[in-house]
Amino acid sequence: MRKHSSFRSRVFVLLLVLFAAAFLLPASRTGSPVLYMLAAAVPVVMLLLLFLPAGLFSLDRSSLSAALSLCGFGMLAAVYISPDETLSQGMRCIAALFFLAFGAVLVRAFRPSVPAAVLPALCGLALISFPLWLPSVSFSLAEGGMALLLFAVAAFLSLRQYFPALSASLVGTFLLLLGQDYGTAVVWGLVSVLVFWTGSDSLLWSGISLVSSAGLFAILTGFVLPVPDAAPGMLSRIAAMPLIPPETIAEDSAGFGSPESLYFLLGEQYGLVFLFCALLLLIALLIRGASLALHTRKSFHASLSLGIVLLLGLRALLFLAAAAGLLPVAPGAFPFLTSSAPDLFAHFFLLGLLSGVSARNDADLEEDARLAMLAH
């Protein structure tokens, strides 16, 4: 355990040095005092956030360091837009930490029961259906809605309440399809089916969830809803990206404002290798989440952890597939590397839930050690 933690510490120190250097590069070219300040402030703030809130709320440092690094990448991408946008992205990341702490506290305090699970289910469905009530609003709260719905579904499954779990999943899928957010509907459909398959001991109910989700998709997209137009994909933008950071600053051809723009900006200014490192960070986070799911004692925590891994992983997979033109949907937001505040808050909320599960695992281990000591 000590070897692993010292390895992780070294990796994180390396990342801090990388961020300082990455902010110093444009700072030395432009001479901007704001960039010099960011080169010093970003590593220091990341270090403080890793130790102070993590110690206060017993957060999982491995997953938190991966998420903070991805947020740092987002700020790096925004550097080439304007200083205001860089600072705004930093503020969004710090504000998202509130949701991280909320998620951690929620998991530790929650005791699965049917009435307690109904409230997050209703809140999740309300957030998912937000665009239907207010179609003029440009942002979406679907990510936060799915997080709360996942929480409720995991609670229902742990109580073997399969019908409420299936109902909540199907209504969520239905509302997403009704709002014509096909990509997010696909992600949620897959998450709910796989969490059902893992969390329920019944093959029958797993089969029912699969058939009902697939049927809902087929009926709504085949007969009721309009078929989405084929998206052009973004292979041309990816083809224009260099392999390593170019000697000179690339002109901003990605534009800014859409949730996926930070990802492409990062690739254009720092190269494909850098982008691949961001993906590896996310994969490390997913593996950490799966590891927590494997070591937990309660099925609620296991289903919740797996669902979080699937939500983040499938969201990233959808992003990459849509960017490559494999799927006719908009890429949406890459986990933690997005300028959309609601999506960023939702991702940190999911991370907080994961940290809460990690804290429960550690508490269970300490309890075991105490009992073993008492037995001797």
């Binding site: 001479g31 205001d84 990206m241 000179t248 901003d252 993906l279 997979l317």
Partner: protein, 91 residues
Amino acid sequence: MRYRIRIITLVLVCALLAVALWTAKSAWYPDGIRPDTPEEAVQPVASEVSSPSPSGQDPWADPVNPAPAAETVPSPEETPASDPLFNTFGL
């Protein structure tokens, strides 16, 4: 349950890596031939290029010592030909 979690995680990670590598390969080798320079790939349309600063001013300019504005376009002999840094930041 643990077996299923391992399977799902493995499939997810492999899918992510596969799509990422396939995208990079498709973008760089669309016909099996690598372009000599990135410029030989599909160029972004000029109208789609958005100025980093809508007002036309350099967002990173030092307010204390602003760089003098160039009155004429510098000749290729005076500035490095392949360095858009000067054009972008008005140096």
